[in-house]
């Protein structure tokens, strides 16, 4: 795919946000908050950094993006549709019976979706499997796994973190969407994961902190991860849940709740 310029990427991010609002509003359910927080990360990947071909989703040499926080499916679908994996109109079938836009991702039905996710904590392990296969097959693709910061409560994340460093995998990067909120409240109240960046370092990872809404910073970090040899890289992306819509920002109600028709209208106005 032809990479976009920074200004075009910013426009694309806004477009993805509009899709997220429209899809979840139409479905009447879904997870807009954590989709909006990771929008720049996913935009930077699909419209600049990743080596991929929407016409050939199973291309063996493609870079893999693994969405571990499967509830951000509306974000991933929006990016895939805008990249050309399937028609944009299909987005509005989110959460409908037999739709390819399942509530949480299903790798067996949606072109471009690498992993079925939804139960948290499993994506990094899955990504390690893909990275090991790449090493065995001597393919130079890279693997990017997007985790939620609340998801880092799961023990399996740290089993995987330990293993990726142990196997000296430098073809995998974890990106943590650090929006500081989880369903029951602020992460520091529910289950404090701090010092999060130090934890990744202690597990043997190279770790970078970025403003997760700054496309240039994200792209720099992704390039840095590519240059680091002999160990995996974690990018802690500091973000705001519900980013881009004033009344959704840092508003926990929109973690797992769709906007009403009226709210969607107001949100789309802000995203013009």
């Amino acid at each position: 795919m032809k990479p976009l310029s920074l200004p075009d990427m910013a426009k694309k991010a806004k477009k993805l946000r509009r899709h997220i609002i429209e899809m979840t509003a139409k479905a009447g359910s879904g997870h807009p908050g954590g989709s909006l927080s990771a929008t720049e990360v996913v935009t930077a990947l699909y419209f600049k950094h990743l080596r991929h071909d929407p016409q050939n989703p199973r291309w063996p040499d493609r870079d893999r993006f693994v969405l571990s926080k499967g509830h951000a499916a509306p974000l991933l679908y929006s990016a895939l549709a805008e990249a050309g994996y399937f028609p944009v109109e299909e987005l509005l079938t989110l959460r409908q019976l037999d739709s390819r836009m399942q509530g949480h991702t299903d790798m067996t039905v949606t072109p471009g979706v690498e992993m079925s996710a939804g139960a948290l904590g499993q994506g990094l392990s899955f990504g390690i499997g893909i990275a090991l296969a790449g090493r065995l097959d001597r393919r130079d693709y890279r693997v990017y796994v997007l985790l939620g910061d609340g998801e880092c409560d799961e023990g399996q994340v740290w089993e995987a973190a330990m293993a990726a460093a142990h196997f000296k995998l430098d073809n995998i990067a974890a990106i943590v969407d650090r929006n500081r909120q989880q369903i029951d409240g602020w992460t520091y109240e529910v289950m404090d994961t701090e010092p999060l960046t130090d934890k990744w370092r202690a597990f043997g990872w190279h770790a970078i902190e970025v403003d997760g809404h700054d496309l240039a910073q994200i792209l720099d970090a992704l390039d840095e991860a590519k240059r680091i040899k002999g160990k995996p890289t974690a990018i802690i992306a500091h973000t705001t849940k519900g980013k881009g819509v004033s009344f959704m920002e840092n508003n926990l109600e929109f973690h797992g709740q769709a906007p009403t028709a009226d709210e969607a209208e107001r949100a789309l106005k802000e995203l013009e």
């Binding site: 063996p60 299903d106 790798m107 067996t108 690498e114 992993m115 079925s116 996710a117 939804g118 139960a119 904590g121 499993q122 994506g123 990094l124 392990s125 899955f126 990504g127 390690i128 499997g129 893909i130 990275a131 090991l132 296969a133 790449g134 065995l136 097959d137 023990g155 399996q156 089993e159 995987a160 330990m162 293993a163 142990h166 196997f167």
Partner: protein
Amino acid sequence: MAVEVSVREAYGKTLVELGKENENIVVLDADLAKSTMTQFFAKEFPERFFDCGIAEQNMMGIAAGLAASGKTVFASTFAVFASGRCFDQVRMSIAQPGQNVKIVATHSGISVGEDGFSHHSIEDLALFCSFPNFTVIVPADAIETAQAVRTAAATYGPFYIRLCRPKAPLVFDHSYRFVLGKAVMMRGGRDVTIIATGLMVAKALEAADKLAREEIECRVLNMPTLKPLDEKAIIRAAEETGAILTVEEHLQHGGLGSRVAQVVAKHRPVPMSFLAIKDFYSSSGKPEELFRKHGLTVEGIEQEVQQLVRRKD
């Protein structure tokens, strides 16, 4: 007494053969390679073997990622950990997408013995049979194990193969050919059918020999594939012998007995009886001592058959 051979060693050695034939095969273990016998593969193909440490959930996820990238993956640990500890990982990462992962679990059932109830895997068949997309196999001896492992490698999709710790008496010779989803008639008879799996097959055959002296002729079916189940063989057994006893080294619910009963109840109701692990957790003990506690002995089978025959009209 029949010759006893390790089913785990049969698994380990078959893996090495498969590794030589197919470079796409990758093997994972969770710090139990010496017990599950994946150590043979690890020695022969170190670059295709990954020890995941004592982190079974992570192992199942790695297995799924490797499989999604085109590998045929064998993942081994003890049956308690493969089933209970990783249920969610197996469900979402392996069962739902139908990944090409073969979970070969050892030290199943109560024949793990002295380790005690933390290590007695008595629920695993109920758990694995509950997954759509999964194929579930319990081999009866080393010869069947080797063939089941080969079949799993050659058949796309998720498999659970359940092996025991002790050596198992050989019930087959090398002319045997395992067929996925098919019961094996081990002995003909018209009075009653005993359907057994795993270590219980040899016991069922011994019991059938003894019962023949009392002029009770038992048909003995080995049922290595629990899912998909050979419904035809079960219906035929019900029609032709009029009574069925199931024998398994697993809880009385959710395993062989439950699955056979469902077929019998729907298609051809006949008197049935169930020898299985009773609904409690056992203590440490020698395998045969534990089997006695649950009636999983040759004498237990004989008594159960005698009672069952009396229930036939």
